[in-house]
């Protein structure tokens, strides 16, 4: 599980940035041709994100299939794992493309991309933890729900965690989380949130690529 949640975003980010900088000259060449700008950039993005997602789904799926997944009743949990993994790939590739587009300087772009990953994977949780400790006198349920929603990594982690029966450990807060995420409505909302995380960077990608002057 930690592999999905930590490594998948990292791979998405690094590959996204690397791929964009590598093919920058080729993009410039393509731009000279009578092709729509959005289709060039979207094509680039979908190529990277699509192949990464596919490799994740196949790479995780095939061994588990051979292991006899269909016979076990964990198939829905596993499907959820794959779906969140796919979403994380798409989200972080899109974010890294955005960063690369906004930064001409390769090193700077790389730095920002890794920083972004570090922020969402580690630092965000640290800040989250600090705020929980500092404001522990106050009711924090809604806050922690919201804070989880705004970080795709946390959101995926919580979704998967609640599917495992370890959720009983989470006590009172866990019960509230379960009440929210456990229902279909909660699942839909969190999926929408993940979708939003994917769509927003892609939209910005298209927007910038339209007006950017190379």
């Amino acid at each position: 599980m930690n592999i999905i949640i930590v490594l998948v975003p990292l791979i998405g980010t690094i590959f996204g940035v690397m791929y964009y900088y590598n093919s920058k000259e080729f993009i410039e060449l393509l731009l000279a041709q009578p092709i729509k700008r959005s289709s060039i950039f979207l094509g680039q993005y979908l190529g990277v994100a699509g192949s990464l997602t596919l490799s994740l789904v196949l790479g995780l799926g095939i061994p588990f299939l051979l292991y006899g997944l269909f016979k076990s009743d964990a198939i829905f949990d596993f499907a959820l794992l794959l779906v969140t993994g796919a979403f994380l790939t798409m989200i972080f590739t899109a974010l890294s493309f955005n960063i690369a587009l906004s930064n001409e300087n390769k090193i700077k772009g790389f730095g920002y991309a890794v920083l972004l990953w570090l922020f969402l994977a580690v630092i965000y949780d640290g800040l989250f933890l600090m705020s929980l400790i500092i404001f522990k006198e106050y009711p924090l349920d809604t806050f922690s729900l919201a804070a989880t929603m705004f970080n795709p990594i946390d959101l995926s982690r919580t979704l998967i965690l609640l599917k495992l029966d370890i959720s009983a450990l989470l006590g009172y807060t866990g019960a509230i989380f379960k009440q929210f995420f456990g229902t279909n409505q909660g699942l839909i909302i969190s999926m929408l949130m993940l979708l939003l995380w994917t769509v927003l960077p892609i939209w910005r990608l298209v927007f910038i690529s339209k007006k950017k002057d190379f």
């Binding site: 930690n2 522990k136 924090l140 450990l169 866990g174 989380f177």
Partner: protein, 412 residues
Amino acid sequence: MKHFLFFLSLVNVIFGFSQQDKTITICPDCNVKTVREGIKMASDFDTLLIKKGTYKEFNILIDKPLTLLGEDFPVIDGEDKGEIIRIASDNVTVDGLFIINVGTSYTSDYAAIRVVKSENYLIQNVVLEKLFFGIYLEKSNNGKVYHNKIIGDAQDEYNSGNGIQLWYSHNVEVDRNIIQGVRDGIYLEFSDHVTINNNTSANNLRYGLHFMFSNDDVYTNNVFENNGAGVAVMFSKRIKMIGNTFHKNWGTAAFGMLLKEINDAEISGNTFEENTIGINIEGSNRIEYKNNDFIKNGWAVKVLGACYTNTFTKNNFLYNSFDISYNGKLNDNVFNQNYWSDYTGYDLDKNGVGDVPYRPVKLFSYIVNQTPETIVLLRSLFMDIIDFSEKVSPVFTPDNLLDANPLMKKSL
């Protein structure tokens, strides 16, 4: 009077009237149609043989030493009207009955079988269903409750009773019973020197086994499964808990074992598997934990404070989310020669003992104790990182809380 004489002679004809220890047969088609009638007729040390059938009776008072023997489980149906059997005499045996529909009362605790101020009783092979209280022993010493089956249908804690309840009853043996679906499976209050062996207590609303102010008791080889909490031991001294299994007591407020104000107890050879909290300890001193297995629990041991001079030796801690949770900085408990599945040290001199001490308290478990909401960060990378840093240089967790001799292999 004439009537009675006729009746006596009839009994005479039927049973041959052999001085003592005679048997009175009760069945729906016999002369003696009800249990109460049989008891009235019987003299001391008689046997009442109850044949198969349904007897709609309640408030049956056994006030002389009798044996009630059921054949093919005759049904005694209380029709929810009240208590069913009350034993108020020494040397009573109840065997092989099927008792259903005990009345519910919040003032007099109706029981299927209640023993009051009596000794040397034996209650065995009894099946109880649809009950309020099952077997209620009240100030009754030196008895035996053996091989009974109690199946309740309790829904709420406040309007249900206990399976087997002991109140001021000493030297009682509770053996091989199966209890499920009641509030507390077995409940002891002010009862000393009780042995509880080989019972199965499952699916109860509150506790599988519950001690209150009861000293010098022993329970061994019992199974506690899927209860609100497996066993609650409170305000008791010198309890021995050996070889029991605590399984799947899983839920947001569930425990395998709950210890509160317990002193000088011995806990050994037990298995705690898949409980939210294996053992929850509060204000308990001088307890010896030995050779227990803690497997796949949320918290294996949660120490809540005021626990001194406890020793943990040769236990196996396997795949628990948290091995030990502590909420203070003070530690007076000893951990020695346990096996920890999370131990990452090495054993260069090959003596089976790890060369690096193991710290069972993670920083995360400390933080969760302080701020329960932070548990939502369970299994995040950040937590792994700070746990690691705490392991390298302990700041928040007690410095001396460590197992200096962690075993490399599971102790048997």
